[in-house]
Structures are given as C-alpha cells and as structure tokens.
Symmetry: C4
Subunit: 210 residues, 4 copies
C-alpha cells in the first residue's frame, strides 16, 4: 500500500523493528517507530498495540504531522501509537530528522529511574560514542536528558522543550521508567543511535556494579 | 486433528510456546500452556514431558474441564501436564479467561523464593505496567501473589483461593521456586502478560542489585 | 555413514549439540558429546577440535569402549576428543547409561572454581530438580560433586571414583574451571539434565548476588 | 569479485562477522576484520561504516599492506576501516598471521577501562585457555595487554610496540574503552581466540562480582 518511493524506508524501518524485538528492547506491545515519507508532511509510523515479535509491513501506517491517519490506512482498530505526538513534534521542529525510534529496554527503564533526580545520564571516554552522529572522538562527554514519565504527551514534550533548541546538542532522551527516544537523518542513522545508547546503558550498568 | 475453529488458537498457542522457549523461560520439560476451545467446556493444553525447544502442534491435546483427555487425543504416553488442575480450576472460576500460561524463568524462580516470606512482589512506577489488561497508567501499584510450592495441586489452589475472588484484582501469581502463572481473555493478551511480568522481574532484579 | 539403527541417535545428538552452542555453553572448540550405538560396545562421539557453531553430522564418529576410532570413520585428522576416556569409563561402569554430555558454560566454570574447596554444589527447594531422572519433588537436596581439573584423564576419573558407585546417587559432576559432565538413559534424558543443571547454575548465581 | 582462491577465506570471514554480530560483540558500525589473501601483500578487509547485522560478502574489500584499496574494489564511499593501519601493521610484522579480528563487546569495553591502570588482564586456571594457540594446559597464566585509546592509529601501534616482539608471547590486546584485537594463522584460529577471550571476560566479570 506504500508509495514505491516510501517502500525502501518502510522496509528498512520494519527490519529495524524486528531487530530491536530480537534484542529484547520492545517487550509486550510497547515502543513505537517512524520515518519521514517522501511526501512532505507525511510520516510512516508503527500502529498501536501490535506484538513487536510478530510485526509486519502491514502494521506500518501513514499519518500527517498532526497525527491523523491518511487514506488508505484508515480502518477499524487502525490507530497510530499514543505517542505519535512526540514523533510529529520532533519532525515539525527538526527538518533534518528523517527517523524517530523509541525502544523500551530493561536498562533504559532502570537507569532512567535511578538517575531521574539528576535529570540526565552522562557518558564519557567510550569509543562507541562515535556511533552518535557528529562525534569524532571518545574523548568527550555526551549527555542524555531524563524527563518524568506522564500519560499526557504534552507534559513530556513540555519537559523536553529546553533541550530541543537549535542547534541540536543531544541525540535523544529518556522518559523515566519508560525508555529511550532517539532520531537520525535516516533509519540507518537512528538505528545506530539506538544501538549506541543501549550499549552505553550496558557499560554503565556493568561499571556501577563494581 | 483440531476442529477448524480451534486451529487459529492452537497455532497462536504454539507460536507463544516457541517464543517462550527461545527466551529461556521453559527449561528442560517444565512449563505448561492452554487455551479455551470453541467447544464449551473443552480446552487445548500442552501435553506433559515434551522438550519445549522441540514442541510441535502435535504436542497439543484437548481435555475437558475435569482434565480428562478427549478423543482422538487419547493414546499411550499421551497425558496432560500434572498441573492441568490449576488450568481447569482457573477456567471454571473465570468465564472471561481464554488462555492460561505458565513459564519457569530463572528470575521467576529466584524472586519468588527471595520474596516468599512477604507473600508477594509489588511493582510501581513502570510504564510497562500498562501491558497488563486494564491498567491505564504507570502511576499505580500491581501486586503479584507468591504461594508456597507443593507437589499437590489442590494445596496450591487452596493457597490461591483468597486471591481468586471476583472481581479479579490480580493478573497472575508465582509459585515459590517454580515460576509464573498468568492468564488473559485470549492467547495474545496472556502472552503480553507473560512478557510484562518477565520484564518487571528483570527490572526488579537490576534495581535491587544497586 | 551411520548404521540406519544409529541414525536417529546421531541426529538427536547433533540437534542437542547445536542447541547447546546457541545457548553459549560450548565456546571455542570446547565440549564433547556421545551416545551409545545399537551395536554393543560401540559409541557415537563428537570428534575433536570442531567449532560447535559449525558442527555437522559428519563431525560425529564411532569408537569402541577403548576409545579406538572404528572404520569407516578413520582418517587423517579424525580423532576423538581428548576426553573420550571419561565417556568410555562411564559407559563401561553403567550399563543403563545411553548418552554422556559435557558442556562448558561461564557459570559451570566460575561456580566450579568458587566451590572447588567444598568439593560440591548443593541445590534444594527448586521445582526444576524434577528435571533430573528419578526426582519426584522439589523438597530434596541434590549434590553435584566438583573434582580438580587435570590434563590427565585418569586423574579426573580417579577423583570421581568414590562418587561413581552403584546405585548411582548423582546425575553428573563438575570439573573445576572446566565445566559439567552429565548422562542419561538416552539423548533426551541427558539433554534435560544439562538444561536442568545450567538453570540451577543461573539460579545459584542470582541468589548469591543478593 | 574475489579471486577463486580467496573466496573460501572471504566466506569464512563473513560467517565469523555474522556470528560476532549475533553475539552482540559488534554494536552500531563498530569493529573490523581481515584475512590474508592468497596473493602476497594483499588482504581482504571489512569496509568502513557498515551495520554488522546486515554485513554481506560485498562489504568485504581488498587492500595492499599500505591500506590502499585495490581494483576493482575502489569506488565512491568504499573505504577500508579507519583501523586498517593496525591490521596491516600486524600482517607486516608477523608472517605467520593469516587473520586479524577486532570485536567491541560490553565486557571488552568495561574490563579494559577498569584495568587500564594495570595495563593488562591476567587469566589463570581456566580450561578454556587451551583455546589459545600453543597453550596445552589450564595451569598457566595468560596476559592480555591493555593500551590507551586514541583516534591516532600510530599512537596505538606505538603503545603496543614493546609487546609485539618475536617470539610472540601474547594472543591479542585490548584498547581501553574500545575492545579486543586478536589474530591467528587462519580465520578459524582467530575466531577461536575471540571466543576464548570473550568467554574469559565473562568469567572474570562473574568472579569479581562475588
């Protein structure tokens, strides 16, 4: 059902979703994922409530930047994820972003709770930091903000406002007890950011256990 | 051998069983799984003693709510799991339940032993709590009762009696040193509960190790 | 190349070997595995030096109970594992044994080193204990002896002698820093023992970390 | 595009790369791998910037020992990994080496940071030490040097100089916060070294957590 110009992105997004599921980063029906369409103002996004271990191409739908489902994707039970609002907010704010990914791993959950009071995680001295776009060395410090969880998306967006100023200094954020949001110019770049942050979470967890 | 009306549930149950095996939640020949048949008073249930890594559709059999194997599933060596009694008890008690799943993970085993004296695990503040039917927010507390292990199923059922009162306030229970029982209106819902609780076990284990 | 009567055992052994490799219980070219042939005095055994992630049916050879490779399995570079002596010793001692399996997991290695001075691991109160042949309840204690490692197989066998008396009270043993040996009446039973012990190792490790 | 004489090595290298990715030892686009060509002075090496979970035969290119890409592998965006210099240095120094592998696991990262001040990891008493070429017993001590990380390859090579003297006493080295380099006479041997060291990292981590 996708425009032939969008099919490569849709397939790449599907492959990333399946990969994250295999890593255990999308338990139950949590997490959501999107990519910008070739049509301005449209995005491809995972629909709500699907078991990610069984996710298929037909579970991707299209919305506009107001989060409204576009034809022919409308239908009974077809709705975008509750957190579509965060995705569309990021696309409206940052024209250079082509993909937004949200995973929900054990360590993304626990580290975000344990460091909620500090409001951020800091990572320094790791070679893997070069996996984040624009970082050319391990010899730097990366900050990942943590905001409080809420069932109201505007609350989460408001809490992120001060961080989401141009030029973009961060590569993602954590919602406490809920998981990671990151983005990139395309699916490959955003997927690399997910893998980089999840690896940094594991290193952080191992190091603190000393 | 299944009625065509039961084949979708049987296949979905099989897929869930294979998924749990891949996650390492069904070591050796432990665990058992069932779903309600389209025929009132009948259930589909895993037969006893099968290596879950090799489980096939032909390892699912049918019983009535007294746990008696129904034709044409009878045969030498074909018997339902020893814990069928727990499954049938739950189906008799709760008409709204369509699936009962029992996994046996390392953390389900160790947390149930370590918290046996308290008689329960408590989970609060996790977004994943919304994976349990009826929970609409992370901002609540979910209780998972723990009962003592026994080789007598009536003992386990008796220990659960006070929790199994309508309206159902819990989504499952742990048997100490033995693992998790959960249920749902259908296979997808019960599978989501397994994944949610196993994820909560992992978060709990990581958090207590601080 | 196998006698048709041995092909089912050989294939079941191959499947178990591939399963253990996927679990990470056979790093590098470690571990070895065998099953009794339908021909009295003959066994099927993994040959030495093969990467278990690439193990194939053609990597299984046949020896007699003196560990000599039988035709047509002889050939340049075809030799049984160095530890064949332990396998053949067990088959000679216990007629009821049809399969001997040796895995080399991280926790089998570390727990055997940490408890070497005590000479054993003890497991009690776990439902999974019923995975070991003859155990009918969780309410018992299972002992797993630990012997010192040696590059001389007769030394290892001598250290085990006092444990290997009929009636057989144990289901396996650990070699310190080296891993687990277990056995069973057939491949399925021995595989179940491996899974049971590895699960018990994980529970033990989690519980001691409290 | 490979010379038929190089195709077996290229395929074996590809299989190792895919195996390491499945183990989680090559997050994001980290890590690089090479094997000596049948043509003297040429090597097969992974090209830069590829997601290792999607790595294919066409992502292997050929260079000379100065790290220059050879025809017909040249092309836009086709470049060898930044760390090719380390690979070619090792091949020039040690004629007996046929393969160089570099993984980037969580524990390779964290242990190398935690032991950076000591300048090495020591492993003793593990049976798995026999996985390293030339080791005939567990009853020995293996040293794995750790050098400081740098974005300048000559700095890393200079830091390794004192260790890389003939006769070669070590089987690899760690770069702090960055991961493991090891080598072998062929791909199978170097792959066995990676698995051996990663297994030793896991044992070391478990033992220190006591």
């Amino acid at each position: 059902m996708f425009d032939p110009r969008d099919l490569p992105s849709a397939n790449e997004l599907l492959e990333a979703i399946q990969y994250f599921s295999q890593q255990g980063w999308s338990p139950a029906t949590s997490t959501n994922y999107s990519a910008r369409s070739a049509t301005p103002g449209h995005i491809i996004i995972s629909r709500s409530g699907v078991d990610k271990a069984r996710f298929q191409l037909s579970d991707l739908i299209m919305t506009n930047l107001e989060g409204e489902v576009l034809p022919p994707f409308q239908g009974p039970g077809i709705k975008p994820s509750a957190e579509t609002e965060i995705h569309t907010h990021l696309y409206r704010l940052f024209p250079q972003i082509g993909c937004v990914l949200h995973t929900h791993s054990v360590l993304g959950t626990t580290l975000s709770l344990e460091h909620a009071a500090e409001g951020q995680l800091r990572f320094a001295g790791y070679e893997i930091l070069k996996g984040l776009e624009g970082n050319a060395t391990h010899d730097m410090e990366e900050r990942l903000p943590i905001v409080a969880n809420s069932q109201s998306m505007p609350d989460i967006i408001a809490a992120m406002e001060s961080y989401l100023r141009l030029p973009l200094q961060i590569h993602g954020f954590l919602i406490a007890g809920h998981g990671l949001y990151t983005w990139g110019r395309d699916v490959a770049s955003a997927k690399r950011h997910i893998e980089t942050f999840e690896f940094l979470f594991e290193c952080t967890q191992v190091m603190r256990r000393r």
